[in-house]
């Protein structure tokens, strides 16, 4: 099992799409953090809605852009399994380990590290940003680090579980494009609709569950949770973990059982 796990890590390391994904994470987090932090305040009533630069609230709202890494962790998890079917490397994988359930478990485990890598890259870029703006004269290190500590651990944990969720999604859907569209579509489109109509269900969906998990350290109000209705952080974590395991299990008993031709 350890050998299988390290083989999965080797698969991550030896293709450029993994590094590309980490690069995109750094780029997106860096660009949007800067954009949100320095959005023109303008004049009039709108200006008062934006947090004053250098304040704790300002650091909170800019650091929360780290959440973008969640979507990339999700994609990483999806690629981890659908990429094997796309490039037919699933044949040598199953030849080396014909017990397909074990392959899925090792992918779930490897995706924990993959998701963590994405989360760390996002967090590192945010930290670099934080020190840069403090150096430029906005706020002070104390405030910056305090707010960073509010946001980063939750985002990291959520990124890990999003990658696990991605493996589950990929195992069930098997098709790379479909899995990515469904994965991103659920959080971006389906979830807000359900959340609006039926909040008691919506709060258990991946995006809201991730926000709940992030609230373990974060100042939730600063996040501006959609309806202010979040489940407990541990419930959010368990929900995300559940999605990953249940979907992967369902995949292992349905799509992954089919013949490899």
């Amino acid at each position: 099992m350890i050998a299988l796990f390290s083989s999965e890590l080797k698969k991550f390391r030896t293709i450029w799409s993994t590094w590309l994904l980490l690069g995109i994470t750094a780029l997106l987090v860096g660009a949007f953090t800067t954009l949100v932090a320095f959005v023109p305040r303008g004049h009039g009533p709108r200006a008062s809605l934006l947090p004053v630069r250098g304040t704790a609230l300002w650091f909170d709202s800019t650091f929360s852009i780290m959440r973008l890494s969640l979507d990339l962790a999700l994609v990483l998890g999806i690629l981890c399994i659908t990429g094997e079917y796309r490039h037919k490397t699933i044949t040598p994988t199953y030849l080396a380990e014909p017990k397909r359930g074990r392959v899925v478990v090792s992918k779930l485990l490897a995706s924990i590290l993959g998701g963590a890598a994405v989360g760390v890259v996002g967090g590192a870029v945010a930290l670099v940003f934080g020190f840069s703006v403090v150096g430029a004269g906005f706020g002070n290190v104390q405030t910056m680090l305090t707010e960073y500590r509010h946001i980063f651990p939750g985002v990291l944990a959520a990124a890990v579980l999003y990658a696990v969720y991605g493996v589950g999604l990929g195992a069930l859907l098997k098709n790379q494009v479909v899995a990515i569209v469904v994965g991103l579509g659920v959080t971006a489109i389906v979830e807000p609709i359900i959340d609006g109509v039926w909040p008691s269900v919506g709060q258990w969906l991946p995006g809201q569950a991730a926000q709940a998990l992030e609230s373990v350290t974060a100042n939730v109000k600063a996040f501006g949770a959609s309806n202010g209705q979040l489940i407990a952080w541990w419930q959010g974590g368990l929900a995300l973990l559940g999605y990953g395991i249940v979907l992967a299990g369902a995949g292992a008993f349905t799509t992954l059982r089919s013949d490899v031709t």
Binding site: A3, L4, S6, S7, K10, K11, T14, I15, W16, S17, G83, E84, H87, K88, T89, I90, T91, P92, Y94, L95, A96, E97, P98, K99, R257, D259, V260, T261
Partner: protein, 316 residues
């Protein structure tokens, strides 16, 4: 759709067994069933008496060379092998060894996306050899290989089998197979039509004798008398003139034609016998099965055990 029906065979160690059949006969499906990639609706395929799925370390027990097996285009050849090697705890040294063995020693750090079909086939071969397995199962391994590659592979498979290992190789290239294999298993329409040593298969086949003589007319008359006398062992079944000075007697051997020529005192410049090729036998055997009819004139030595599902070969 039924791809393979009621197929049963055993592959013995120490031999190269050819797994032959026309396109769509079920060769690939059978081999993939043996390797645990395709689940048979009934029956089982065993290696050393164990299903592939239950082998403790399949990479060291069985090497599978499959068509359309995958490579990530962005992964280097060496990393492709290392990923597989890691699962079985095979050292990096062995990875370099098999790369050298298949002639990819200098291309290990190139991305597979830039490989030709032949190079991919060599890499696939290298992957199968990683665990130095006792059993090699190869699906159309000659595909994409250049003549040197094919010659090398033929020699390699023979050497592999000579060490008491099992080699099962599917092919639709019969002349190539005839040079490589000791035993043949012929599949047509998902059913077994022949299973036995190659020489027995060829023995049961008819031969013809071709004679070049200035006395063609007399030889034709003499042969026609024998044909008219009725059928029997190696008695010619037909006589024809291929050219003014060339006579061909079908279904007979030089051992029959030679004494006949001596008895009649006929001058002969040249006499050759030609057997039916594996190709001709293959057509005879597979044609009937393709039409859903049992083939006629199947040599008795090639009776096949029909029972159960596909079965892999045990190794002692």
């Amino acid at each position: 759709m039924v791809a393979v029906d009621n197929l049963s065979f055993v592959v013995e160690p120490g031999t190269v067994t050819g797994f032959l059949g026309p396109n769509g006969a079920g060769k690939t499906t059978t081999l993939r069933m043996m390797l645990g990639l395709v689940a048979p609706s009934s029956g089982s395929a065993l290696v050393n008496g164990v299903a592939y799925h239950d082998l403790p370390d399949p990479t060291r027990a069985v090497g599978g060379v499959l068509e359309a097996s995958g490579f990530h285009p962005a992964r280097t050849a060496r990393n492709h092998l290392r990923v597989v090697a890691t699962v079985s705890g095979i050292e990096n040294r062995r990875v370099d060894e098999v790369l050298d063995l298949v002639g990819l020693g200098g291309d290990g750090d190139r991305k597979v996306g830039g490989f030709s079909l032949g190079m991919r086939q060599r890499l696939e071969f290298a992957r199968a050899l990683l665990g130095d397995p006792q059993v090699l199962i190869l699906d159309e391994p000659a595909n994409g290989l250049d003549p040197q590659g094919i010659a090398w592979m033929r020699g390699f498979l023979r050497w592999y089998a000579s060490q008491g290992r099992v080699v099962l190789v599917s092919s639709h290239l019969l002349s190539e197979a005839a040079q490589t294999v000791d035993r043949v298993i012929i599949l047509a329409g998902g059913r077994l039509v022949a299973d036995g040593p190659l020489h027995e298969l060829l023995q049961g086949a008819t031969t013809s004798v071709r004679v070049r003589t200035p006395d063609a007319d007399r030889l034709v008359r003499a042969l026609e008398d024998v044909v008219a006398a009725g059928p029997g062992d190696d008695v010619p079944t037909a006589v024809r003139r291929e050219a003014p000075d060339v006579v061909v007697a079908e279904g007979t051997t030089p051992e029959v034609v030679g004494p006949l020529i001596a008895r009649h005192g006929i001058v002969v410049y040249e006499m050759t016998s030609s057997g039916e090729s594996l190709e001709q036998i293959f057509f005879e055997l597979t044609e009937g099965a393709e039409r859903g009819v049992r083939p006629m004139g199947q040599p008795p030595a090639l009776q096949a055990p029909f029972s159960g599902g596909p079965e892999g070969g045990p190794v002692p």
